[in-house]
């Protein structure tokens, strides 16, 4: 039996995942937690083989940071990250954190049980890319890496000169990029652009 820890703050989702796994007879649900900050201490305390980890939970640590913490001390524990947020940086962060697989709620073609079973058999299932969303008139896939970096810093509240410092480029370069982004999306100003991006969870400001 695969000793499983579910980390998910929404009861309805938690109970669904629990029911789905228990029904197979292959997974033993050791416990459920609603706070990713407590996942690593739980793995220290109890024998866990698999963690099904939501990204955004109660508490201040997100599931990807918690995954990194778990993997640092327990590299053999499999971690499957599940999320409904199409944050552009999550896939890369999850891979760097050592997550074994990644599944988008309501979006991924594969079903969650299939992804979990494949993970336990040694496979690593990651979507090819972050699902695209429309930002104004543009697809999120139309943004360059630099544009995404700048958008993230804008959402974190930095001014253009601070962004220029952070990215080691000129103020004019930053302004040019923002002008391009506004032109692509058709948004009239930075405020509308930021609200649209945050509303779609394309970029989420990290605490």
């Amino acid at each position: 039996m695969v000793k499983t820890l579910i980390v998910e703050d929404q009861r309805i989702t938690r109970d669904y995942i629990r029911g789905m796994l228990e029904e197979t007879g292959r997974y033993e649900i050791v416990d459920c937690l609603s706070d990713a900050s407590l996942a690593a201490p739980k793995c220290d305390k109890d024998e866990i083989d698999l963690v099904v980890m939501d990204v955004y939970t109660s508490g201040s640590k997100d599931g990807i940071d918690a995954t990194e913490e778990i993997k640092a001390k327990h590299p053999n524990i499999k971690v499957v990250i599940v999320t409904s947020m199409v944050e552009v940086g999550y896939l890369d962060r999850a891979k760097k954190a050592g997550a074994n697989s990644f599944w988008y709620k309501n979006i991924s073609k594969e079903n969650l049980l299939g992804v979990i079973d494949a993970t336990m058999s040694g496979k690593s299932i990651f979507p090819e890319k972050t699902p695209p969303v429309m930002i104004g008139e543009a697809s999120s896939e139309d943004f360059t890496k630099t544009e995404i970096k700048i958008l993230r810093l804008i959402i974190e509240g930095l001014e253009y000169d601070e962004i220029a410092d952070r990215l080691n480029c000129s103020l004019n370069t930053v302004k040019t990029h923002v002008t391009h982004i506004l032109a692509k999306t058709g948004h009239g100003n930075r405020t509308k652009l930021v609200i649209d991006i945050m509303n779609k969870n394309f970029i989420i400001a990290k605490n």
Partner: protein, 345 residues
Amino acid sequence: MPSRGPYILALIIIATFSILVVLLHVFVIEKKRIGKHSIRESINHLPVALAVFDRNGLVKLSSNAMNEYFREYTKVDLQNHEQLIAAIETLEPQTLKSISDVRVYLLPNGVYFMYQENKITINEIDKYTECIFFDVTELHKQEMELQEQSSEIMKRRESLQELSDNLLELGKEREILTAKTNIHNQMGSALISARQALTSDDEKLIDEALANLDKIVTSLGSGEVKPDMDIEIDDLMHDASSLGVSISIDGTIPDERDVKSFILLAIRTALTNAVQHGHATSLDVKVYSLDDRYVINITNNGETPTEDIVPRGGLKNLIRQGDRRGYKVSISSKPRLELQLIIKK
């Protein structure tokens, strides 16, 4: 005999010319010498107000700017050092962050000046006190503008963070709605199948339909939700118990959404730290509802830290969120670790 008149005239002209040259030379030399007048002229051109007092405190030298400032403020002429100090002491000290270690004052006419006093000794005998006023009005103005801009930037950042937090919550609500809709649809399909199976009298179909319904009902969980249960607090208690920690709450956590979510965040933060660093097995939460504020004290039975707590990670985030809402968060480690929240009503 030839006339001696032209020669005498020539001699007179030469002598006069020579005297003029000598006088001019003397005049130039005199001009180059530094006299009192030239010193006074020089200090009046300095971009500061300056006064120098002798060992008895009497004014030895005073620039026009100093005289004007002093007369405008006190209505009398500057005579001695004591007068100057007495006048300065009637002024409210100001703060300029960029020059925080010097004295800055504001005159009624709106001029900000930085005051500096130096003791000067000449030839180890003559002692003087030099008092200088630097006009820092422009610097003050720029600092105020910068402060205003910084404040605006901070407000924008806080608004963005608040928007981000709210949108994340919204995202979660959408997720729940999607999950409920899916279950509703599955339930609907299963009920239709069950009805059809029951009207068909086909036992195999009926068994399949019932098994399907059973599966969906099981996926809804144990259903142990009592009407008066607070799910968030229940989840918190369960999480703590999973890690071998019992939480006791003395008092009532307020219902206001923002206040409640912040208090629960604080308890979670304290729980995480108590487990990771203090190896605690119990957490005590005391909630006091006073006239104008809530006071929440959170302690645990874990190891007391040996060093001062430097907020990082969860604690830092908690303090930041508290600052944004105008709540006070304080952490003390002696005599025992305590997290305190003060939330104005």
